[in-house]
Amino acid sequence: MANTLILAEGAGHYLDFGIFHISVTNALIMGAMIVLFVLAVVIPFPHHKADDDSDSR
């Protein structure tokens, strides 16, 4: 049992904030998702030149 606990404790890295316990990998993935969401909102979508021409008519 003790060996099992040692193996489990050695698997991965974790962040602890009180009752909040999360692996570094999961935290990084969630952070990347939030960054991706923000980038999707702020980065302009590429336009075709034909669209600009048709919009100006």
Binding site: I29, F45, H47
Partner: protein
């Protein structure tokens, strides 16, 4: 696909204004529902309003594409079996393809959800579109959970035991044993994917029927066709 001015997608006749079929003929009724649920020209549109020209509108299609890869790689895994996907190079490849397409599927689906939440995408008669999306999310989570036993390793055993304890604690253990690999696998590869597939098809049909939700505060141009939800008969 090209972006155009802030008008609703062009369509000849709104579906709700077409005459209803003879109720005595189920074939006429089925034909009417199939051809009028989505307005003509809106099944595969090649033009969209200009506000759709944003990266945040890409994530719905990204979710669909990753779902196709999830299903395709899952079908290959089902053909080979666990002895194959654990021991051969090609099996490892499809095993990893299945895993990472699922990771991407949930990531882009979550971003799609965030985008639609902050757009209040249930506006304009789109409440069913929103609800089917949420049900699809729940069904997909269930599908993911039932897939852990397919690892057929100690990780699968540990996750199954945790799931069993969790389900027992809320009284669901009498109906479903999370440590039963046959039940979990059948749910994972047949029942729940079928549910996800049907709900996603309904979701996409509703998106095509009502069009993409405009930004909050957008003023429609004079002559633009309003969403179908605003024209639906109340009876």
């Amino acid at each position: 696909m090209s972006a155009v001015a802030d008008t609703a997608p062009a369509r000849a006749v709104p579906a709700a204004s077409a005459p209803s079929p003879d109720r005595t003929s189920w074939t006429a009724w089925a034909r009417y529902r199939i051809t009028h649920t989505v307005p003509e020209g809106q099944w595969l549109p090649d033009r969209q309003p200009s506000y759709v020209a944003s990266w945040i509108y890409v994530f719905g299609m990204a979710t669909l594409v990753s779902l196709f890869i999830v299903i395709g790689s899952g079908v290959v895994l089902a053909l080979g079996g666990s002895e194959w996907w654990h021991t051969s190079g090609v099996g490892h490849f499809f095993n990893s393809t299945h895993l990472w397409s699922v990771e991407i599927f949930f990531a882009v689906m979550a971003i799609h959800l965030w985008g639609k939440f902050w757009m209040a995408a249930w506006r304009g008669g789109r409440s069913l579109t929103w609800m089917t999306g949420m049900i699809a999310l729940l069904a997909a989570v269930g599908t993911g959970f039932t897939g852990y036993l397919s690892q057929t390793n100690f990780d699968a055993q540990w996750i199954g035991a945790q799931a069993k304890d969790g389900l027992n604690s809320v009284g669901l253990g009498a109906w479903f044993n999370a440590l039963n690999p046959a039940a979990a696998l059948t749910l994972h590869i047949v029942v729940l994917p079928l549910a996800v597939g049907v709900i996603v098809i309904m979701h996409v049909i509703l998106v095509r029927r009502h069009g993409v939700v405009p930004p909050i505060g957008a003023v429609p141009l004079i002559g633009a066709v309003p969403p179908i939800g605003a024209q639906e008969p109340t009876s």
